[in-house]
């Protein structure tokens, strides 16, 4: 119940942002909510199940291209976005079946490869996807401000759906099973957890929202090309955000997303050429000093310690 209230309050605050009428802020807020989606998506497989996936960029790009190609064939906007989600789920189930038996580094490498494979597929099918030339999407007839507001709300709605889904999964049998797998997969299997099925479900959850986010992003920027939507940073950043906020928690990914974006903006403006190095330094500092994320700091400081019941997720 507490989780739903926090989500509702956060959503309400963000939903009021367009009233400020600042298009730059709108743009930032849209990116922030997109980051929330990507971070929370990664958390399903990386945080809950403990499988370090680098496939997020693959789902994002697949979603972007699925919806872009459909729209270039005349499919309506929302249908194309939904199709992007479906495509990402199907792809994740297919790939998950092939690589989810790998563990640790091996899984990380295999998931990274799926991104490269998708990128190459797009590059080598120029008739359908425009290949390296990229793909233009239909321009929407609306004012700049309307456009900014529309896409902010679209991304916000997706982020809220993703967060709601996270709250439900964390409380569910699926979430409990994934946490068992994260702690000790062999023991989980012996206890009767269908690890293979659960991991695939976790992977599908990590795909669907990232895929739709890619589709919304494509419509938002009107033009996509492989290096943009299959950018490996789209796989790395969610991981950093989750580590920053709190691995396997419900609100950690969202907090991490906002903190990382704020940091990016500050560093980007002040050290144009060094921002990538700065990102690297944060990751190292995180692993060394904050292995359990920002949420763990607040929890220790304010002494929020409750008796937990099985299956109850950390807030």
């Amino acid at each position: 119940m507490k989780n739903w209230l926090i989500l509702a309050a956060g959503t309400a605050v963000l939903a009021l942002l367009p009233l400020l009428g600042d298009n730059y802020l709108m743009r930032l807020a849209t990116i922030a909510t997109m980051y929330v989606v990507l971070a929370q998506s990664w958390n399903f497989i990386g945080g809950l199940a403990g499988y370090p996936s680098f496939a997020t960029a693959g789902f994002f790009g697949l979603g972007a291209y699925t919806s872009a190609v459909l729209m270039s064939m005349g499919s309506p906007l929302y249908l194309s976005w939904a199709a992007a989600g479906v495509a990402a789920v199907l792809f994740s189930a297919l790939v998950g079946g092939a690589i989810l038996h790998l563990r640790g580094h091996y899984f990380a490498i295999a998931s990274l490869v799926t991104v490269e494979v998708l990128r190459e597929i797009v590059n080598t099918t120029p008739d359908l996807t425009g290949g390296g030339m990229g793909l233009n999407l239909p321009i929407m007839r609306m004012s700049v401000a309307e456009h900014a507001t529309f896409f902010f709300y679209a991304m916000l709605a997706l982020a809220v759906a993703c967060m709601a889904c996270a709250i439900l999964v964390h409380k569910s049998k699926l979430g409990f099973g994934l946490r068992c797998i994260q702690q000790n997969e062999d023991a989980a299997n012996i206890l009767g957890v269908n690890a293979y099925l659960y991991k695939t479900a976790g992977f599908a959850f990590s795909a669907v929202f990232a895929g739709i986010a890619g589709a919304i992003y494509a419509s938002w920027v009107h033009y996509i090309e492989p290096p943009d939507v299959f950018d490996i940073l789209l796989s790395v950043k969610p991981l950093v955000m989750v580590l920053l906020g709190g691995l396997g928690t419900i609100f950690g990914p969202a907090i991490g997303a906002f903190v990382l974006l704020a940091f990016e903006e500050v560093v980007w403006r002040n050290f144009l050429t060094l921002h990538a190095a700065a990102l690297g330094i944060i990751i190292v500092a995180l692993v060394l000093f904050l292995p359990n994320g920002l949420l763990s700091v607040t929890r220790e400081r304010f002494g929020v310690r409750r008796k937990k019941r099985p299956g109850e997720a950390r807030p």
Binding site: K171, K173, F176, G177, R179, C180, Q183, N184, D186, A187, A188, N189, I190, L191, G192, V193, N194, A195, Y196, K307, K308, R309, P310, G311
Partner: protein, 249 residues
């Protein structure tokens, strides 16, 4: 009465090594079967074969008339074959209660989290872990971890409970407590397969004993008779002792 679990010429090879080699025996319902043998005899491998961790490379494992040789571990767990691990395998960061609730929810197929939780609490009371229910599993002593394994196994509502050296590393008071628990579980009608090095334990609770050596079954029968079997004496103590004491000791 027909067998609850029957092994028919079961083998498991790892490359050229046959860790379990042509083993056949039946387990009757309600029985406490002791599974003994020198180190490396293949006892744990045999449990791994039964629970689908390392499926048999040859032969058949039949549970209640159903061939489970090729089934996955989680399916076998849901049928009611549960086991403990010799090297304890808790979910370290979860609480003790959550650990046991996982067994009740997934293996015991409790309807929901609340039901799993209350089933888990019941097993924690039985195993004497109720007062540490909200502590992380990581914080338990070895004796408590062994009992946690036991509680997890029980929460799965087992038909057959396979206890892989639940007494190893315990002091004699703790062994006596564990023994009392095993007896109580057996009285409830749960069939038990007990892997054990402590002969005191095996002799006092087992109805029947099966002896493995180099992966093969070398003796089977009533506890006292099996211990006098020359082949068993030879396996444990060597041929010299077997010649001197075999059949009379």
């Amino acid at each position: 009465m027909s067998a609850l679990l029957s092994l028919d010429n079961v083998s498991r090879a790892f490359g050229g090594l046959r860790a379990v080699d042509g083993v056949s025996f039946d387990v009757a319902p309600g029985e406490v079967l002791g599974l003994i043998g020198p180190n490396g005899a293949g006892k744990t491998t045999l449990i791994n074969v039964i629970t689908g961790v390392h499926p048999a490379t040859d032969g058949r494992v039949v549970f209640e008339g159903r061939d489970i040789t090729r089934m996955k571990s989680h399916q076998i767990a849901k049928l009611g074959l549960s086991r403990t691990f010799q090297i304890v395998q808790p979910f370290p960061k979860m609480t003790v209660l959550e650990n046991v609730a996982a067994g009740a929810l997934f293996g015991g197929q409790a309807a929901n989290m609340a039901e799993a939780s209350s089933a888990a609490m019941e097993q924690l009371r039985f195993t004497g872990l109720a007062q540490v229910a909200d502590n992380p599993a990581l914080s338990l002593t070895l004796a408590q971890r062994k009992r946690l394994e036991f509680a997890k196994g029980l929460a799965m509502k087992p038909r057959i409970l396979m206890l892989d050296e639940v007494n190893a590393g315990l002091n004699s008071t703790e062994v006596d407590e564990a023994l009392a628990m095993i007896r109580k579980v057996a009285e409830r009608g749960v069939t038990i397969i007990l892997i054990e090095h402590l002969l005191k334990v095996v002799l006092s609770v087992s109805h029947r004993i099966v002896v493995l050596h180099h992966g093969a079954l070398i003796a089977e029968g009533a506890p006292q008779a099996v211990l006098r079997d020359p082949a068993v004496v030879e396996a444990y103590l060597g041929a010299k002792y077997a010649a001197r004491y075999g059949g009379t000791a």
